[in-house]
Protein backbone atom coordinates (compact mmCIF):
# COMPACT_ATOMS: atom_id res chain seq x y z
CA UNK A 1 0.00 0.00 0.00
CA UNK A 2 2.40 2.61 -1.24
CA UNK A 3 1.04 6.10 -0.80
CA UNK A 4 0.87 8.45 -3.73
CA UNK A 5 3.95 10.25 -2.35
CA UNK A 6 6.77 9.20 -4.74
CA UNK A 7 9.14 7.27 -2.56
CA UNK A 8 12.78 7.86 -3.51
CA UNK A 9 14.06 5.82 -6.42
CA UNK A 10 16.61 3.74 -4.54
CA UNK A 11 18.55 3.09 -7.75
CA UNK A 12 22.23 2.12 -7.71
CA UNK A 13 23.78 3.90 -4.65
CA UNK A 14 25.88 6.92 -5.87
CA UNK A 15 29.59 6.11 -6.15
CA UNK A 16 32.11 7.47 -3.66
CA UNK A 17 33.79 9.42 -6.47
CA UNK A 18 30.86 11.81 -6.53
CA UNK A 19 31.48 12.82 -2.93
CA UNK A 20 35.19 13.33 -3.61
CA UNK A 21 34.37 15.59 -6.58
CA UNK A 22 32.01 17.61 -4.38
CA UNK A 23 34.66 17.98 -1.69
CA UNK A 24 37.21 19.28 -4.20
CA UNK A 25 34.65 21.72 -5.62
CA UNK A 26 33.90 23.03 -2.12
CA UNK A 27 37.56 23.53 -1.27
CA UNK A 28 38.19 25.36 -4.54
CA UNK A 29 35.17 27.61 -3.99
CA UNK A 30 36.38 28.42 -0.48
CA UNK A 31 39.77 29.38 -1.87
CA UNK A 32 38.09 31.49 -4.54
CA UNK A 33 35.93 33.42 -2.12
CA UNK A 34 38.90 33.96 0.19
CA UNK A 35 40.99 35.30 -2.70
CA UNK A 36 38.20 37.58 -3.90
CA UNK A 37 37.85 39.07 -0.43
CA UNK A 38 41.40 40.43 -0.53
CA UNK A 39 40.61 42.31 -3.77
CA UNK A 40 38.47 45.43 -3.01
CA UNK A 41 35.42 45.17 -5.32
CA UNK A 42 33.41 47.86 -3.51
CA UNK A 43 29.67 47.17 -3.51
CA UNK A 44 30.01 43.91 -5.39
CA UNK A 45 32.11 42.07 -2.80
CA UNK A 46 29.10 41.08 -0.67
CA UNK A 47 26.97 39.97 -3.63
CA UNK A 48 29.80 37.85 -5.02
CA UNK A 49 30.62 36.29 -1.66
CA UNK A 50 26.93 35.38 -1.19
CA UNK A 51 26.72 33.91 -4.68
CA UNK A 52 29.68 31.65 -3.95
CA UNK A 53 28.17 30.71 -0.59
CA UNK A 54 24.90 29.77 -2.32
CA UNK A 55 26.86 27.64 -4.79
CA UNK A 56 28.70 25.85 -1.98
CA UNK A 57 25.46 25.48 -0.03
CA UNK A 58 23.66 23.88 -2.95
CA UNK A 59 26.54 21.44 -3.49
CA UNK A 60 26.26 20.33 0.13
CA UNK A 61 22.44 20.22 0.03
CA UNK A 62 22.09 18.42 -3.30
CA UNK A 63 24.82 15.79 -3.01
CA UNK A 64 25.91 15.38 0.59
CA UNK A 65 22.29 15.66 1.81
CA UNK A 66 20.97 13.57 -1.12
CA UNK A 67 18.35 16.10 -2.26
CA UNK A 68 19.49 15.12 -5.72
CA UNK A 69 18.05 11.64 -5.26
CA UNK A 70 14.81 12.46 -3.42
CA UNK A 71 11.89 14.02 -5.21
CA UNK A 72 8.81 15.69 -3.68
CA UNK A 73 8.11 17.49 -0.41
CA UNK A 74 11.61 17.01 0.98
CA UNK A 75 13.13 19.48 -1.50
CA UNK A 76 10.35 22.00 -0.96
CA UNK A 77 11.09 22.28 2.77
CA UNK A 78 14.59 23.76 2.43
CA UNK A 79 13.53 26.12 -0.37
CA UNK A 80 10.54 27.41 1.66
CA UNK A 81 12.64 27.96 4.78
CA UNK A 82 15.28 29.94 2.87
CA UNK A 83 12.55 31.86 0.98
CA UNK A 84 10.94 33.09 4.20
CA UNK A 85 14.30 34.17 5.66
CA UNK A 86 14.84 36.23 2.50
CA UNK A 87 11.30 37.70 2.72
CA UNK A 88 11.81 38.72 6.37
CA UNK A 89 15.26 40.20 5.67
CA UNK A 90 14.23 42.16 2.60
CA UNK A 91 11.18 43.74 4.27
CA UNK A 92 13.17 44.69 7.39
CA UNK A 93 15.99 46.17 5.28
CA UNK A 94 13.40 48.02 3.14
CA UNK A 95 11.98 49.48 6.37
CA UNK A 96 15.43 50.66 7.44
CA UNK A 97 16.22 52.20 4.07
CA UNK A 98 12.99 54.19 3.80
CA UNK A 99 12.50 55.13 7.46
CA UNK A 100 12.54 58.77 8.76
CA UNK A 101 16.34 59.29 8.94
CA UNK A 102 16.34 60.52 12.55
CA UNK A 103 14.45 57.35 13.61
CA UNK A 104 17.55 55.34 12.71
CA UNK A 105 20.39 54.94 15.18
CA UNK A 106 22.90 57.82 14.77
CA UNK A 107 25.62 56.36 12.57
Amino acid sequence: MVTTEAVDEAGAPPSAARYLACWIALVLLTGLTFALSTVDLGGWSLALALAIAVAKGSVVALFFMHLWDHVGAVRLVLVTAVLFVVVLSSLVVADVLTRFPLALPPR
Partner: protein, 209 residues
Protein backbone atom coordinates in the same frame (compact mmCIF):
# COMPACT_ATOMS: atom_id res chain seq x y z
CA UNK B 1 18.39 -7.53 13.34
CA UNK B 2 15.36 -8.93 11.54
CA UNK B 3 14.03 -6.50 8.91
CA UNK B 4 10.55 -6.00 10.29
CA UNK B 5 11.56 -5.68 13.96
CA UNK B 6 12.19 -2.01 13.31
CA UNK B 7 9.01 -1.49 11.25
CA UNK B 8 6.62 0.47 13.53
CA UNK B 9 3.10 -1.06 13.66
CA UNK B 10 1.39 1.92 12.08
CA UNK B 11 3.54 2.19 8.92
CA UNK B 12 2.66 0.23 5.82
CA UNK B 13 6.22 -0.51 4.65
CA UNK B 14 9.84 0.11 5.63
CA UNK B 15 10.45 2.50 2.72
CA UNK B 16 7.41 4.61 3.67
CA UNK B 17 8.68 4.74 7.25
CA UNK B 18 12.14 5.81 6.03
CA UNK B 19 10.53 8.46 3.82
CA UNK B 20 8.45 9.72 6.77
CA UNK B 21 11.52 9.91 8.99
CA UNK B 22 13.43 11.79 6.30
CA UNK B 23 10.57 14.27 5.75
CA UNK B 24 10.27 14.82 9.51
CA UNK B 25 14.03 15.44 9.79
CA UNK B 26 13.98 17.87 6.89
CA UNK B 27 11.11 19.82 8.50
CA UNK B 28 13.20 20.02 11.67
CA UNK B 29 16.17 21.24 9.59
CA UNK B 30 13.83 23.84 8.08
CA UNK B 31 13.10 25.15 11.59
CA UNK B 32 16.86 25.29 12.30
CA UNK B 33 17.39 27.33 9.12
CA UNK B 34 14.68 29.73 10.28
CA UNK B 35 16.17 29.92 13.77
CA UNK B 36 19.46 31.09 12.25
CA UNK B 37 17.43 33.11 9.75
CA UNK B 38 16.33 35.45 12.53
CA UNK B 39 19.97 36.26 13.24
CA UNK B 40 20.70 36.74 9.54
CA UNK B 41 17.83 39.27 9.49
CA UNK B 42 19.44 41.14 12.39
CA UNK B 43 22.77 41.01 10.51
CA UNK B 44 21.21 42.33 7.27
CA UNK B 45 19.53 45.21 9.12
CA UNK B 46 22.52 46.32 11.17
CA UNK B 47 24.86 45.96 8.21
CA UNK B 48 22.62 48.39 6.30
CA UNK B 49 22.60 50.84 9.23
CA UNK B 50 26.25 50.56 10.37
CA UNK B 51 27.96 49.81 7.06
CA UNK B 52 31.33 51.40 7.90
CA UNK B 53 31.55 49.87 11.37
CA UNK B 54 30.77 46.37 10.00
CA UNK B 55 33.45 46.55 7.34
CA UNK B 56 36.03 47.86 9.83
CA UNK B 57 35.18 45.23 12.46
CA UNK B 58 35.23 42.45 9.88
CA UNK B 59 38.85 43.30 9.10
CA UNK B 60 39.62 42.96 12.80
CA UNK B 61 38.46 39.34 12.76
CA UNK B 62 41.13 36.72 12.07
CA UNK B 63 40.38 35.80 8.45
CA UNK B 64 42.89 32.92 8.35
CA UNK B 65 41.29 31.13 11.31
CA UNK B 66 37.87 31.62 9.68
CA UNK B 67 39.09 29.97 6.50
CA UNK B 68 40.64 27.08 8.43
CA UNK B 69 37.31 26.60 10.21
CA UNK B 70 35.50 26.48 6.87
CA UNK B 71 37.88 23.92 5.38
CA UNK B 72 37.67 21.76 8.53
CA UNK B 73 33.86 21.73 8.42
CA UNK B 74 33.73 21.03 4.69
CA UNK B 75 36.07 18.08 5.12
CA UNK B 76 34.01 16.78 8.02
CA UNK B 77 30.92 17.00 5.83
CA UNK B 78 32.78 14.97 3.19
CA UNK B 79 33.84 12.28 5.65
CA UNK B 80 30.29 12.16 7.03
CA UNK B 81 28.85 11.52 3.55
CA UNK B 82 31.57 8.93 2.96
CA UNK B 83 30.72 7.23 6.27
CA UNK B 84 27.06 6.88 5.29
CA UNK B 85 28.04 5.59 1.84
CA UNK B 86 30.35 2.97 3.34
CA UNK B 87 27.76 1.89 5.92
CA UNK B 88 25.20 1.43 3.15
CA UNK B 89 27.79 -0.68 1.32
CA UNK B 90 27.98 -2.96 4.37
CA UNK B 91 31.62 -2.03 5.20
CA UNK B 92 31.04 -1.20 8.88
CA UNK B 93 34.71 -0.94 9.87
CA UNK B 94 35.58 1.66 7.21
CA UNK B 95 32.35 3.54 7.97
CA UNK B 96 33.34 3.76 11.64
CA UNK B 97 36.75 5.15 10.61
CA UNK B 98 35.07 7.82 8.44
CA UNK B 99 32.69 8.79 11.26
CA UNK B 100 35.61 8.91 13.66
CA UNK B 101 37.34 11.33 11.29
CA UNK B 102 34.17 13.47 11.24
CA UNK B 103 34.18 13.54 15.06
CA UNK B 104 37.84 14.55 15.13
CA UNK B 105 37.27 17.32 12.59
CA UNK B 106 34.28 18.57 14.57
CA UNK B 107 36.39 18.77 17.71
CA UNK B 108 39.12 20.52 15.70
CA UNK B 109 36.56 23.10 14.58
CA UNK B 110 35.57 23.80 18.19
CA UNK B 111 39.23 24.07 19.21
CA UNK B 112 40.06 26.54 16.43
CA UNK B 113 36.96 28.55 17.18
CA UNK B 114 37.65 28.58 20.91
CA UNK B 115 41.14 29.88 20.17
CA UNK B 116 39.60 32.61 18.04
CA UNK B 117 37.19 33.61 20.82
CA UNK B 118 40.11 33.81 23.25
CA UNK B 119 41.93 36.12 20.83
CA UNK B 120 38.88 38.35 20.45
CA UNK B 121 38.23 38.59 24.19
CA UNK B 122 41.91 39.36 24.84
CA UNK B 123 41.69 42.17 22.27
CA UNK B 124 38.71 43.56 24.22
CA UNK B 125 36.23 42.89 21.41
CA UNK B 126 33.32 42.12 23.72
CA UNK B 127 29.70 42.48 22.65
CA UNK B 128 27.56 45.59 22.91
CA UNK B 129 28.34 48.07 25.69
CA UNK B 130 31.52 46.23 26.74
CA UNK B 131 33.27 46.78 23.40
CA UNK B 132 36.73 48.25 23.91
CA UNK B 133 38.79 47.26 20.87
CA UNK B 134 39.92 49.76 18.29
CA UNK B 135 37.08 50.58 15.93
CA UNK B 136 35.70 53.96 17.02
CA UNK B 137 32.66 53.94 14.74
CA UNK B 138 29.13 53.67 16.15
CA UNK B 139 27.75 50.14 15.79
CA UNK B 140 30.99 48.26 16.40
CA UNK B 141 29.53 46.82 19.62
CA UNK B 142 26.52 45.61 17.63
CA UNK B 143 28.75 43.81 15.12
CA UNK B 144 30.38 41.87 17.91
CA UNK B 145 27.02 41.16 19.57
CA UNK B 146 25.86 39.58 16.31
CA UNK B 147 29.24 37.85 15.84
CA UNK B 148 29.05 36.18 19.25
CA UNK B 149 25.35 35.29 18.84
CA UNK B 150 25.74 33.75 15.37
CA UNK B 151 28.96 31.84 15.95
CA UNK B 152 27.98 30.97 19.53
CA UNK B 153 24.63 29.47 18.50
CA UNK B 154 26.43 27.66 15.68
CA UNK B 155 29.07 26.25 18.03
CA UNK B 156 26.30 25.08 20.37
CA UNK B 157 24.80 23.17 17.45
CA UNK B 158 28.24 21.70 16.69
CA UNK B 159 28.33 20.35 20.25
CA UNK B 160 24.86 18.78 19.82
CA UNK B 161 26.08 17.35 16.49
CA UNK B 162 29.17 15.84 18.13
CA UNK B 163 27.09 14.14 20.83
CA UNK B 164 24.78 12.75 18.15
CA UNK B 165 27.78 11.60 16.07
CA UNK B 166 29.37 9.91 19.06
CA UNK B 167 26.22 7.82 19.58
CA UNK B 168 25.99 7.02 15.84
CA UNK B 169 29.67 6.05 15.60
CA UNK B 170 29.26 3.63 18.50
CA UNK B 171 26.23 2.03 16.83
CA UNK B 172 28.03 1.84 13.45
CA UNK B 173 30.96 0.15 15.14
CA UNK B 174 28.48 -2.37 16.57
CA UNK B 175 27.29 -3.01 13.01
CA UNK B 176 23.72 -1.78 13.56
CA UNK B 177 23.51 -0.21 10.12
CA UNK B 178 23.65 -2.07 6.84
CA UNK B 179 22.16 -1.97 3.39
CA UNK B 180 18.63 -2.61 4.77
CA UNK B 181 18.59 -0.16 7.67
CA UNK B 182 20.49 3.15 7.85
CA UNK B 183 17.85 5.78 8.78
CA UNK B 184 19.35 6.99 12.11
CA UNK B 185 22.78 7.41 10.46
CA UNK B 186 21.26 9.23 7.49
CA UNK B 187 19.33 11.65 9.76
CA UNK B 188 22.42 12.26 11.90
CA UNK B 189 24.31 12.99 8.69
CA UNK B 190 21.66 15.46 7.54
CA UNK B 191 21.96 17.33 10.84
CA UNK B 192 25.75 17.51 10.52
CA UNK B 193 25.55 18.71 6.92
CA UNK B 194 23.14 21.45 8.02
CA UNK B 195 25.71 22.68 10.56
CA UNK B 196 28.18 22.89 7.68
CA UNK B 197 25.59 24.64 5.49
CA UNK B 198 24.98 27.34 8.12
CA UNK B 199 28.72 27.92 8.58
CA UNK B 200 29.17 28.24 4.79
CA UNK B 201 26.91 31.30 4.96
CA UNK B 202 28.32 32.64 8.25
CA UNK B 203 31.90 32.59 6.97
CA UNK B 204 31.63 35.18 4.14
CA UNK B 205 29.18 37.42 6.02
CA UNK B 206 31.37 37.75 9.10
CA UNK B 207 34.90 37.35 7.82
CA UNK B 208 35.05 38.37 4.20
CA UNK B 209 33.11 41.62 3.73
Amino acid sequence: MAGDARLAHHFSSLSVQAHAARLGMWLFLGTEVLLFGGLFVGYAMYRTVYRAAFVACSHHLDRALGTVDTLVLITSSFTMALGLHLARGGRARQATAALGATLALGLAFLAVHGHEYAGDIAAGALPGRLYRAGVELPGAGIFYTLYYFMTGLHSLHVVFGLVLLGWLTRRTARGDFGAGWDTPLELGGLYWHLIDLVWIFLYPLLYLI
